[in-house]
């Protein structure tokens, strides 16, 4: 292989990647640009990328019809509580599956894994009926509870906790530490990277969750951003500037989380590949 050929190959790689990056990222730039235009400029042909004047009024006007900042608050609250609760439930379960022997453990864990195959749609109808009977529809617990159990999260943390050396735990047990103490003072501190990965993953899943909140909320006061936005499209089918402002509001928080923690995002994604 000659040097000339390598240079050419690198150039071609960059060219393809730059083209791909433009196709993948430009729609978001277009969204941002559209959110600052007025209703005429946003549909004008030929289109212009930089708005003539940056209008922030779309971000205010949108609240006249839809309490978008309420949706934002709901999304933040639901995502944070779901993430924390999911981390706690998964970590506790994973600890048992990784470090405490008992009869039937592997069978039980197998049962956890099987649920990864159950499509949400199968559990949807009964869940809705039960939640309705318990008056949990249009409440925060109703939005949060079904998101707490995660077979994937339990699996991810278990895989990590299994790498923690047993002698460490045995020594602590010898010294009279309870399992609760071993969990809090050895397992949790040593599982921080895996917990970070799970937290990011759980936050994103909750932030973008659509099907369950769509069914569990009909009251505007309780809607999360994806549900609110999907209702918004029904009413303002072509008010692109308003719609894009709503989109930007839903995009920016998850984008910021991603920028600060892209490492964990990618780790969470690739870890999900382990289960195959």
């Amino acid at each position: 292989m000659t040097d000339k050929f390598a240079v050419f190959k690198n150039l071609l790689s960059h060219l393809i990647l730059i083209l791909a990056a433009i196709v993948l990222v430009f729609p978001f730039i277009w969204m941002l640009s559209g959110s600052f235009k007025d209703s005429l400029e946003v549909v004008r042909m030929p289109p212009n990328l930089i708005p003539e004047t940056f209008l922030f009024s779309n971000y205010v006007e949108i609240t006249k019809y839809f309490p978008i900042y309420r949706f934002l608050g709901n999304s933040v609250f639901v995502a944070i509580v779901t993430t924390l609760a999911q981390m706690a439930a998964c970590a506790m379960g994973a600890f048992v599956f990784a470090k405490i022997q008992f009869r039937g453990r592997e069978t039980l864990f197998g049962l956890y894994l099987i649920t990864m195959m159950i499509p949400m749609q199968v559990t949807l109808t009964p869940l809705f009926i039960v939640f309705q009977k318990l008056n949990l529809i249009n409440t925060y617990p109703g939005l949060i509870l079904p998101g707490i159990f995660s077979a994937y999260g339990t699996f991810l943390l278990r895989q990590h906790m299994m790498t923690i050396p047993d002698p460490l735990i045995e020594a602590a047990r010898m010294d009279g530490a309870s399992y609760a103490r071993v969990f809090a003072q050895i397992i949790i501190p040593l599982s921080k990277p895996a917990l970070a990965t799970l937290s990011i993953f759980a936050f994103m899943a909750s932030w973008n969750n659509f099907l369950w909140p769509l069914i569990a909320t009909s009251d505007k006061e309780l809607m999360t951003l994806p549900i609110g936005l999907s209702k918004l499209t029904g009413r303002w089918a072509t008010e692109w500037n308003i719609l894009m402002a709503g989109n930007v509001i839903s995009f920016v928080p998850i984008f910021i989380v991603f920028l600060f923690a892209s490492r964990y995002f990618i780790k969470g994604m690739t870890m999900s590949g382990v289960k195959g």
Binding site: M1, S13, H14, I16, L17, A20, A21, L24, F28, W30, M31, V42, V43, M45, P47, A89, G93, V96, I100, F102, Y112, M117, I118, P119, V122, T123, L124, T125, P126, I129, Q132, F149, T154, S178, Y179, A180, M204, N208, F210, I215, P226, L229, T233, W240, L243, M244, G246, N247, S250, F251, F255, F258, L259, S262, I266, M269, T270, G273, K275, G276
Partner: protein, 294 residues
């Protein structure tokens, strides 16, 4: 004393397992079994449920809308799967080369992945709009009159496929990239010694050793494909004339708009069984083409 110790260990285990076990039972297993029971009934939530045996299943398998939606899903998978795999493989290979700015490309390719389907669908509804859409504007620059994508009976599904590939590409790429990085350099060195060229190395070393990752992506993509819903609901709502309707959308409409709980549950079980069968077939077939290194 020993008995007491055993008892306290059981209490500890139960205590730690309680949150996730409760979730598993209350939100997965019990609803799943209930849904199986409901699927044998005729129930609108208001009146008492009536046992109808297999009627719902019989009806669903003869229902034109259900069958159309299944056919639509097959079309979707036929278009989506090869595209996302081929492009994902291409970008994984490119990102695996030691290029400058790889970190930037990796972030760029990931942005659609982290965005919600609703936001992505709304952006693309605009981009694909017949009059004010950027896609048709760009096409007009090269003299092509674009269709009204999402309102066009023929083009709506290809548009949904393209947007889905666009959104999921980063995910597939990252999984395949992790697979590529797991391949030991020894294999490539051995191949070089044996006189293999670049193409041969890719065909004889990279691809076979990447098959576990490819297999995983295939399984996940198929499962997700059968559950196609979010993007369809926001972009086309199943239209025009049912050309993009999907099984999950049918389930959603039957259960939560028409309150046909029994029928919707039967449809969801049909979906589950299809996914189960497809996954089992893949597990069986994997022995023929997936190479495990370890």
């Amino acid at each position: 004393m020993v008995g007491q110790k055993r008892l306290s260990k059981a209490v500890v285990i139960l205590g730690f397992l309680f949150p996730s076990l409760a979730g598993l039972l209350l939100f997965q297993l019990i609803p799943m079994l209930s849904s199986a029971v409901i699927s044998f009934t005729d129930w609108d939530l208001l009146t008492k449920a009536r046992f109808v045996g297999l009627d719902n299943y019989r009806e669903a398998l003869q229902d034109e809308q259900t069958l159309t939606s299944m056919l639509n899903i097959l079309k979707y998978i036929a278009g989506y799967l090869p595209s996302v795999l081929a492009l994902g493989l291409l970008f994984a290979v490119l990102l695996n080369r030691k290029l400058r700015g790889v970190q930037f490309y990796r972030i760029a390719i990931f942005i659609p992945v982290i965005t919600s389907w609703v936001a992505v669908s709304i952006i693309w509804r605009w981009l694909l709009n017949g009059q004010s859409g950027l896609v048709n504007y760009v096409l007009s620059l090269v003299g092509v009159q674009g269709p009204v994508w999402l309102q066009d009976f023929f083009w709506a599904m290809p548009a949904i496929i393209a947007v889905s590939v666009w959104k999921d590409l980063g995910y597939v790429t990252i999984i395949l990239l992790a697979g590529l990085q797991d391949i030991s350099d020894d294999y490539y060195e051995a191949a070089t010694i044996d006189g293999a060229g670049g193409f041969q190395k890719f065909w004889r070393v990279t691809l076979p050793l990447l098959t576990p990752s490819l297999f995983f992506v295939l399984v996940i993509s198929l499962i997700n494909g059968f559950q196609l819903f979010d993007q369809v609901l926001v972009m086309t709502n199943g239209g025009p004339a049912g050309s993009t309707s999907t099984l999950v959308q049918q389930i959603y409409e039957n259960a939560f708009q028409s309150y046909k709980m029994g029928f919707a549950s039967a449809q969801s079980w049909i979906l589950f069984v299809i996914i189960l069968i497809v996954t089992i077939i893949q597990q069986q077939l994997q022995k023929r083409w997936v190479t495990y290194d370890r």
